[in-house]
Symmetry: C2
Subunit: 325 residues, 2 copies
DNA sequence: GCCTATATGTTAATCGATTGTTATAATATC
DNA sequence: GATATTATAACAATCGATTAACATATAGGC
């Protein structure tokens, strides 16, 4: 591929001048600019961003680590992050950790090695110690991290409360809640917390179940859900920590001959696409994914430019009532 | 961040020696290696990949341009591509074109400017002329491109045939097919082609509709579908070019009081997650996304290493029968 | 004819690594 | 003990751009 030197030679100028023209610095004659434009066109020149980044301190890349791309919530999140990154002149280096600690660590090495401007972490198995050695801004989403630069999350607890309140208002007496992965603490656990508090306050019987990594990875909760409904046949309302789970709960109910919402009320979480594609459509807790994504990217930029950055940003959620309650 | 020079100073050696140790070339004393290890540990050194790539000819980045991340088919595709890329030592630079030509062009500039090893293109609005100037391997997926290095696709025509055959075998007499975006020619159009051929051969009445970009971008087909079903009330079978569309068709049928599969049979395309989360679950044409993704990444690698690369790879599809037929 | 503003050339350093060539030790061989 | 061999490092060029310092050249203004 053609280099600046080639362009300079072709245009009959020196690299210094051509670079000046490219970057609009100093004095430039329209004549020279024309010659350079022609030469670039002719040689199909495109500045080597690698060389440029080497000269500058960092790149305009944001490393993004998610546990799953296929999961609609993350697909939605990635999409919004990409969008905002594009607007701000960043590009996204996409890393799918699959919740594998080793892979996550490796990706952190790759991202820092590539001198990314910042790191957005939606995945959470890595030891926080790893991050003491990361010297670029780290924005966590739905993940605890003492050493992180900042954290963006939705009001998970409020979400759990909304779900519990709704189910109880619908007349449910025996609730079942399936939460996030039991082995890894994360902000999403607060959904359970909020749910629990309301149930206790209102004196409603409830069962709490957490999922296993395997189920999370395969997006396959039907067996767990079925066994739970068989184990607790008196259940008349469920709060699931994701819409994917809730959609599967619907299928399980159908299999077991339970009508929703007549025999069973269901509340999901996330409010992704599928929530309105199931039959009946899901009542769910809406996460402001777009705003969270925008804030995350903006925080990276602020942190890079040395601005003071809020340690924690919590956005409100809201209940979207559809047909399962 | 610490550089090689810092490590060398710390270890009391020169950069050349340290580099040699890092890359295991030439003679190295265990003493020197030890000192370097210590220095790296102490300084938290991580090689600057930007500098490394500058020296080498290209990076190990693959540029990936998709029209949508949120669309479950692409989410699935991205996930599989990322996976294979990781296995092969590549990283993914993710670009969401939103089917906007200008954005696509800009991304191509960014990708080539960053000296990516190759480009995987799942999006298709850009003028093919643009690619005459791209000097890295370009693998297209579900997209025509004369100047591309290679193309990977599923047997779209066969998919259309399977769908038509199934609907006809179910006894449908008046079919409706909603295809891809009318204004942009793409391999997926062959689904329509295959569908049409079978209908004609079997003498079955059918209506063909194409979608608009706006609907594709918003993943919102319900209004179109509803108007079509009202316009063609005799319709008793539908073939939709994606599962997202098929899932929405189900909702529209429900709204119009049509039972599926009794009054209306439905066949989708892609076989993504939602296909088994709708009620009834979708009969659909399965695309071998994983294999397509693996092949695409492998083709990039082969092209980079100068291997001869097949111009076109077509993978078979298969019908997955669920509950809508 | 001098000054100034404009335009470009020249030269060289820099970013952080890789790598070929060369220099210097340490050890082995006869 | 001289010579060959092997081990270990230093030195310097290179990748492709940016940028600063300084020199030079042309033009117009007064």
């Amino acid at each position: 591929m053609a280099t600046l030197k080639d362009v300079a030679r072709e245009a009959g100028l020196t690299v210094g001048t051509v670079s000046r023209i490219l970057n609009n610095r100093g004095y430039i004659s329209s004549n020279a600019r024309e010659k350079v434009d022609e030469a670039m066109e002719k040689l199909n020149y495109r500045p080597n961003e690698v060389a440029r980044s080497l000269h500058g301190k960092s790149t305009n890349t944001i490393g993004l680590i998610v546990p799953h791309i296929r999961h609609p919530y993350f697909a939605e999140m990635i999409s919004n992050l990409e969008n905002q990154a594009y607007k701000k002149g960043y590009k996204i280096l996409l890393c799918n950790s699959q919740s594998i600690q080793e892979k996550e660590k490796e990706y952190i090495d790759i991202i820092t090695g590539n001198r990314a401007a910042g790191l957005i972490l939606c995945s959470g198995t890595v030891d926080t110690k790893v991050f003491q050695r990361v010297d670029i801004p780290v924005i966590t989403m739905e993940r605890f991290l003492d050493n992180g630069t900042a954290c963006v999350e939705c009001d998970n607890k409020q979400g759990g409360e909304l779900a519990a309140r709704k189910l109880i208002a619908c007349g449910c007496k025996n609730l079942l809640h399936v939460g996030t992965i039991g082995t890894i603490p994360m902000p999403a656990d607060m959904r359970t917390e909020g749910f629990r508090e309301i149930c206790q306050k209102k004196n409603i019987t409830f069962v709490e179940v957490s999922t296993e990594e395997e189920q999370y990875n395969d997006l396959k909760y039907d067996e767990l859900l079925e066994s739970m409904l068989i184990k607790y046949p008196e259940t008349d309302g469920m709060f699931l920590s994701s819409d994917v789970m809730a959609a599967q709960a619907l299928q399980v109910c159908r299999k077991l001959g339970l009508s929703v919402p007549e025999d069973m009320k269901i509340v999901g979480f996330d409010d992704v696409n599928i929530a309105s594609l199931t039959t009946p459509q899901l009542t769910t807790v809406h996460q402001p994914v777009k705003e969270m994504a925008e804030i995350a990217v903006n925080l990276i930029q602020d942190a890079v430019t040395g601005k003071l950055v809020p340690k924690r940003t919590v956005l409100p959620v809201r209940l979207v009532e559809r047909e399962t309650t």
